[in-house]
């Protein structure tokens, strides 16, 4: 483990929400800075890690980090699904949150330098992948082909519209978008992400794939990637579970013999297949 990445393990650090942006229906991004300057300075993450976010008086929840480890404002993108996230959605700029972390293993970065990367995301599955995408684009020369395949139910449900616009204009970054049903004004593909994945001319050798999305989409995409010849150990995904501690003690996030909070949340598909539990 990187010695510089000492996580905040038990007492949350207080942070201030500085900006809130609407992303899609029920999903907002919350930009934050730590109140203590020394923490603001020292807080370092790896792509794919997560934090435990305290919404005061509501509780604490595990949430993936969408920002790059370098030069990217700290934020969380959260869908309102339960009690605590509903509490977060009520907050305004200036309100405080608590942060523990960062926790978890994260996506490989150094290990995959020189390789081609295929990102496949469905819906809000783009949130945990965003950190890695931005980080890789910041070091674009270190990688081979970089491809994003992203799909959502409708154009309204596509996350990070601003980033996406930037990405589309980025040279050497192949982006492919699809929505489930055609819409007036939509010039991209129509259909599911797995169908689009099947159609594309994707690299196979020296290639890794990062896949994230709802289980149905996930399984269908994996099938296509495997048909193309990408090996199970080169397909990565990030899993989510009910979590309470983030440090491997409460055991709520156990899958098979692993704990998502310390052994994950990033797993290769080969690992996922042998966990012995549904994902």
């Amino acid at each position: 483990m990187d010695k510089n990445l000492v996580p905040i393990t038990s007492v949350p650090e207080i942070a201030t929400i500085v900006d809130i942006r609407d992303e899609i229906n029920e999903v907002k991004s919350f930009y934050f800075t730590f109140d203590r300057p020394e923490i603001e300075q020292a807080f370092k993450i790896r792509s794919g890690q997560f934090i435990m976010c305290t919404v005061f008086k509501a509780g604490e929840f595990a949430v993936s980090l969408p920002f790059s480890p370098e030069n990217d404002p700290k934020h969380l993108s959260v869908r309102r699904v339960g009690k605590v996230t509903a509490g977060l959605h009520q907050l305004e700029p200036g309100d405080k949150i608590g942060v523990r972390g960062p926790f978890g293993n994260g996506f490989p970065f150094e290990e995959i330098k020189g390789k081609n990367i295929i990102y496949v995301a469905g819906g809000i599955g783009l949130i945990p992948l965003r950190s890695s995408i931005v980080h890789v684009l910041q070091h674009r020369q270190d990688f081979g082909r970089v491809i994003l395949v992203y799909g959502a139910k409708s154009s309204k449900e596509l996350m990070y519209k601003e980033s996406v616009k930037e990405w589309q204009a980025t040279e050497n970054f192949e982006t492919h978008f699809t929505i489930d049903r055609s819409e007036p004004g939509w010039s991209g593909e129509v259909g599911f992400v797995n169908q689009l994945t099947a159609k594309l001319d994707l690299p196979v050798e020296e290639t890794v794939a990062f896949v994230c999305g709802p289980p149905v989409m996930f399984n269908a995409v994996i099938k296509e990637l495997k048909l193309k010849g990408i090996k199970e150990q080169n397909i990565y995904s990030t899993l989510e579970r009910h979590m309470k501690c983030g440090i491997g003690k409460c055991q709520h996030c156990a899958i098979g013999r692993t704990l998502v909070c310390v052994d994950g949340p990033v797993y290769t598909y080969r690992q996922i297949r042998t966990l012995g539990e549904q994902i």
Partner: protein, 355 residues
């Protein structure tokens, strides 16, 4: 090894009481059970009492514990988090070897993994442990199958073995030795080791046949569990007997799962509470939005036995997670305490019919 009289033991505990909060087995008048409890009255301590119905883990890992306190004022946007001081010296007197082994499992789990659990550490930091050899097994016991008794091997400050009218005492730490020196206890000769060995051998040989027979079967069950070669029907059979009451988890010396909840007070303060949890509860893995990756009860049940016996979990404890205290078998309203689960797995292996 040293000799210690009952009178000296009493003085020694009194002496510990000056520095430590004393815990030990006592008879509860209301329930008629032996409980391991905080002793406000040292005369209540009964070292010959049966194995307590509760393991001592609540002392280091309470049922319900406030781990943080905070006040948040939305109007002024002020948040103040207060960390609590949980450090309190405690002495555990008369710990049975199974319970001591359980405590060592918790130590390795809470303190020895990638992260240290700071709340457990605070409780653990100043602890004095006096273990007590079991002269005979109790009806529920099978520690001979799990290498955790009837006498303690490690982890104690002092270890007692009743031999006739006095105790044979061994020190397991500098703290323990210092106390022996302070009380100027007489050294027991080489015959004492022979005597202690005989006492332990006698205890081992008086275990029930079922416990002794299970010895080999626990390791075979471990093998099957680890490799996943147990048929789904066996888990279904076990799951069908689970009432999802969580009692097995709550009396287990090594169960460590917990939940964390916020409790808002009228005063405006919020307490962050950590409570025991059990993998048998349906809500254990339920995520926001009601998505639950584990649903059927047998799916949750086999996780508990996987946790107690599999090799991967044993790596965390440096031994199996079961210490053979038999409490789960005693409290289970179904019939799926750990020894029975081993029996069901045995039947699957041998093809023998159930009774």
């Amino acid at each position: 090894m040293y000799w210690l009289t009952s009178e000296q033991l009493e003085l020694l505990i009194k002496k510990l009481g000056e520095e430590y909060k004393i815990f030990g087995p006592r008879h509860d008048r209301v329930s008629g059970e032996v409980i391991f409890d905080h002793l406000t009255d040292l005369s209540e301590l009964d070292l010959q009492a049966a194995i307590p119905y509760n393991p001592p883990r609540f002392i280091l890992f309470p049922h319900l514990e406030e781990i943080l306190k905070y006040r948040y004022e939305p109007e002024t946007k002020q948040a103040r988090i207060e960390q609590l001081n949980l450090l309190e010296p405690k002495a555990l007197i008369g710990l049975r070897s199974c319970d001591l082994t359980g405590l060592l499992c918790l130590d390795r789990f809470f303190l020895g993994q990638e992260f240290v659990d700071e709340f457990y550490l605070a409780h653990r930091k100043k602890l004095f442990i006096i273990s007590n050899t079991c002269l005979r097994p109790f009806p529920q016991c099978f520690c001979v199958c799990t290498d955790s008794g009837p006498a303690a091997k490690e982890g104690f400050d002092l270890d007692l073995t009743l031999a006739g009218r006095g105790y044979l005492v061994e020190a397991g730490s500098k703290k323990g030795q210092a106390l022996i020196d302070e009380f100027k206890l007489p050294e027991a000769g080489p015959e004492a080791s022979v005597l202690k060995k005989k006492i332990i051998d006698d205890s081992v040989s008086s275990f029930d046949r079922w416990a002794l027979e299970n010895k080999a079967w626990i390791s075979r069950a471990t093998n099957r569990l680890t490799t996943g070669f147990i048929k789904p029907e066996v888990w279904e059979y076990i799951g069908n007997q689970c009432f999802e009451c969580g009692a097995c988890s709550f009396v287990c010396p090594t169960c460590s799962c917990f939940n964390i909840e916020e409790a808002n007070q009228e005063s405006g303060e919020t307490n962050r509470l950590r409570t025991w949890d059990s993998c048998s509860f349906e809500g254990y893995t339920k995520m926001a939005g009601d998505n639950n990756p584990r649903k059927p009860v047998e799916d949750r049940r086999n996780k508990r036995f996987f946790c107690k016996l599999s090799y991967s979990q044993s790596k965390k404890y440096l031994r199996p997670g079961c210490v053979g205290c038999g409490r789960c078998a005693r409290v289970c309203p179904g019939d799926i305490g750990l020894p029975n689960v081993v029996t069901y797995i045995r039947r699957e292996i041998t093809g023998e019919a159930g009774e």
